[in-house]
Point group: C2
Chain length 202, copies 2
């Protein structure tokens, strides 16, 4: 047992040394373009988790919800009821697009959301902006991907982080991003006839 522990501790020392060496090279701080995509859960939740971190650190932040606008989500209640000061919360769109069945209205809502998003990103007071489900609006070409990417690369303040979520992120956005995570569904209770539940799904 002592032998196992000794070998483990030596291995851990080596990993720590290698990691410390790696981290010596990590000096730059910059505002990141962060993308959460894929067909799995956690794209929006991890974006809201980062908002929670920002509030915890006292970093002023903003959220623009592009698609889930008609859902009374826990996040919306939570942020609007408790954190109107720390986090600005905006809703664009009128629910998932297959709920609206009105393309022109969806386009107008997406464009409205993008105008708000640009204002928040350009606001020097705001350091982190979550564009929740904007990838859905981009996927349906409700927004021009080239305009969005150009804005992020050329007009976003250097130290401002922007997190864009939603499945089917466009290749142009992935190419522009600093940090891309794909959430992949491996197993889902819907398959077993379980309904969406508060706290878990919304």
């Amino acid at each position: 047992m002592d032998d196992i522990n000794a070998r483990h501790n030596e291995k851990m020392r080596k990993i720590k040394a290698a990691r410390d060496e790696l981290m010596k090279t990590k000096k730059e701080k910059k505002g990141l373009i962060i993308v959460h995509t894929g067909d799995g859960k956690g794209k929006s939740s991890s974006g809201f988790g980062m908002i929670m971190r920002c509030i915890g650190h006292g970093i002023p932040c903003a959220v623009v919800q592009f698609i889930k606008g008609n859902w009374q989500t826990g996040e919306k209640k939570f942020l609007r009821d408790r954190f109107a000061e720390e986090c600005r919360f905006f809703v664009s769109g009128e629910g998932f697009t297959w709920e609206t069945q009105d393309r022109e209205r969806d386009i107008a809502a997406a464009e409205n959301g993008w105008q708000i998003a640009k204002e928040q990103i350009l606001d020097p007071e705001i350091k982190f902006v979550l564009l929740d489900e904007i990838n859905i609006a981009l996927r349906y070409d409700y927004l021009d991907i080239d305009e969005v990417v150009d804005f992020l690369l050329t007009q976003k303040p250097a130290m401002t982080h922007v997190c864009l979520t939603g499945r089917d992120a466009k290749p142009e956005l992935l190419a522009a991003a600093d940090l891309v995570t794909e959430m992949t569904l491996k197993k889902h209770p819907f398959e077993d006839g379980v309904v969406a539940q508060r706290g878990v799904e919304f």
Copy 2:
């Protein structure tokens, strides 16, 4: 343009009809075993996003952090400073295992965390329990995977949700889970020499 919109709206009507039909079969509600794994970001953040949802919905919840115990994370500050009433927060472990270099101490910390976790899961007042980074403790066999899975399957109250996070989730846990999401790293700023930053990484 009207033609494009008409086709789009018809397609959306069909998707909505198919989805409504599918959802008719989703009647069951149950406490889920949720796993966030993979080498990408968002495993912990999306767990904390679900905690935010629970607080927003007034669902009593608890967090046990197994590995990041020595990190002053935004989540910890946030929950401890603002939500001691709504969310119980416990820290086990003394930081990432390669930081401690002491296997026996890590095992003791993991076992302590698991005791707390079982108490919170069994507490009828608590409906959602986040076991953050427990997969790391399981991966190093600091905890017995069979005991953990057996507890979740046989002793977890039927309506209580438990979310377990961390890379390299064990196959036994994946088999027992209702909902599994794998977060995959596609692109990371560390590759470009960017240091971990508040709000984004921790």
